[in-house]
Amino acid sequence: MYNIFSLIFKYIFIVIIYLFILSIIRLIYLDIRGIDTTSLDHSIYLKLINRKDTLPFKIQEYYTLKDITNLGRANNNEIIIKDPYVSKNHLKLVKDEGNYYLEDLNSANGTYVNGDRIMDVVKLKNGDRIRVGQVEFLYVNRE
């Protein structure tokens, strides 16, 4: 009686172990793929222009934008950049009728769009370069 069970179970055990390994590998695969393609096709996003490894703090290659996106050094922002030249609450990106408007929140070192320091709210268009502290972003809107 026990022998029969043992003989059947050895196959079941092997199947389970391999399914387990397979499912872990599959999850890891999804994990790796998820890093590269964060479904950027349809959305509006900021792309980092600086080379990532030249910056001494944590930063992403891409930031997708929500309806209201805050950027700054404090942790309550959507985009957090731990650059000492970025203010705690540095700037705000607001969506209105498919376009984004950039507003500087009285930051100490200012925000530059295409090299000019902005004073008022600015409407962004595709290809604008936004410089904040040491970081430079490209604004991409393909609609």
Binding site: M1, Y2, N3, F5, S6, L7, F9, K10, Y11, I12, F13, I14, I16, I17, Y18, L19, F20, I21, S23, I24, I25, R26, L27, I28, L30, F57, K58, R73, K82, P84, Y85, S87, K88, A108, N109
Partner: protein, 415 residues
């Protein structure tokens, strides 16, 4: 997102299914004298593993796989240990329970306390103190002086020193600039590590010497700027290997039985030949649990558990165990690459190398690929200290897999 969440459950449920089936098998085996205690602790262990991986998914933002992989290895190991000796199996259940508890403890301690990277002297001091204690109060088993008895409790200090060594090397290379300015600064670390290895030679614990050397060489290869030191190190490794061969008779025995065990099948080569017979008997699918004879191999529950697994659960399970270790080490390297904090980056690397090299040495040993050195397979073999230290290392690896915002205080002064 939704799809991803369902997928996380798959390996966890497979694990529980595996454990429940194993418990069911024990139940059929022992159905005449049904032992409530065994059954209860089995259920408790399954429940504990399930709940732990569930909790971990909630509290940790880091890696979710390493704990699952480790618990799968444990499940394979505990089935085999219980089958070889039920009393040892019950003890192992208690060790696993304590190990999981220590996993969470070390996870929280390492995460909460800041400043691990500055305590280089502390790690060195504690390790040396442990070595001295072992030499003074240790007991000798099977030729190596590496156990300390405290009351009824026995433990192997080298298991803890392994982790301290990784911390020591990591903290040294994190503060590398500081040490480099001092005179002979780059020789400090080598001095200390060789002191450790000297202690281990005195204890005749040569398996651990190999692990220490590998961890040190690997980390030095990655982080040392003075490249000629690595060359010296490799040369010294070769010299001490040859010296060990002539100095210690049991190293010669290991080497001879590796070259040709069949000549000494009745005495020195008995263990390794029995291991090879066991693996060969099992074939691809094994004889079935409880139907083989793994008890012919001496030390089958610790060093030779892999042969027992191959005999009764098949070569496929053996390959599965090796693959699980591969994924574990791969995840460890991935964690090290993603980690921004230099100290934890080196620690994660060190721990992955520790798991990798330790399993490589013993799996290679029992398969007669390399000369046999008696060390435990992490998570699989029977052994309290080994289980606990492996879980502590896993807890530290779990911390290293998270985004640690340690550099934040530096920027607080800015506007």
């Amino acid at each position: 997102m939704f799809k991803k969440r369902i997928n996380y459950k798959v390996p966890r449920n497979l694990l529980v299914l595996f454990e429940l089936l194993a418990l069911f098998l024990i139940f059929i085996y022992d159905k005449d004298n049904f032992d409530k205690y065994t059954f209860g602790s089995g259920i408790a262990l399954i429940f504990m593993i399930y709940i732990s991986s569930f909790i971990l998914l909630r509290i940790s933002t880091g890696d979710n796989y390493i704990f699952l992989i480790a618990t799968m290895l444990i499940s394979i190991g505990i089935i085999m240990i219980y089958r070889i000796d039920p009393a040892l199996g019950m003890k192992q259940v208690i060790w696993i329970g304590m190990g999981i508890f220590l996993f969470f403890i070390s996870y929280f301690i390492v995460k909460k306390i800041k400043g691990w990277k500055d305590w280089t002297l502390l790690y060195g001091g504690v390790s040396i103190a442990l070595f001295v204690i072992t030499l003074l109060f240790g007991t000798r088993t099977k030729g190596s002086l590496n156990w300390i008895n405290i009351g009824r409790f026995r433990f192997q200090p080298t298991e803890i020193i392994k982790i301290l060594l990784i911390f020591l090397i990591a903290s040294y290379y994190t503060n590398y600039e500081k040490y480099k300015e001092k005179r002979f600064g780059s020789y400090y670390l080598i001095g200390i590590v060789y002191l450790f290895i000297g202690f281990l030679f005195v204890q005749k614990d040569l398996g651990t010497v190999l692990i220490f050397y590998s961890i040190f060489l690997a980390l030095q290869f990655i982080y040392e700027e003075d490249r000629k030191l690595i060359l010296y190190n490799v040369l010294f490794f070769l010299v001490s290997g040859v010296a060990g061969y002539f100095m210690f008779s049991h190293v010669r025995v290991r080497f001879e039985t590796w070259i040709n065990p069949w000549k000494y099948i009745d005495n020195k080569g008995y263990q390794i030949t029995q291991s090879l017979f066991a693996i060969a008997t099992g074939g691809f699918f094994g004889t079935g649990i409880g139907l083989g004879h793994p008890d012919f191999i001496p030390e089958v529950h610790t060093d030779f558990i892999f042969s027992a697994i191959c005999e009764e659960m098949g070569i496929f399970t053996g390959i599965g165990v090796i693959m699980l270790f591969l994924i574990l080490v791969y995840r460890g390297f991935k964690i090290a690459i993603n980690q921004d904090d230099k100290f934890f980056k080196i620690v994660a690397l060190g721990i992955s190398i520790l798991f990798g090299i330790q399993s490589f040495i013993i799996l290679g040993g029992v398969l007669k690929m390399i000369p046999l050195t008696g060390i435990t397979i992490p998570f699989v073999s029977y052994g309290g200290s080994s289980m606990l230290s492996s879980f502590i290392a896993l807890g530290i690896l779990q911390v290293a897999s998270e985004d640690l915002d340690l550099g934040e205080e530096k920027y607080e002064q800015g506007t």
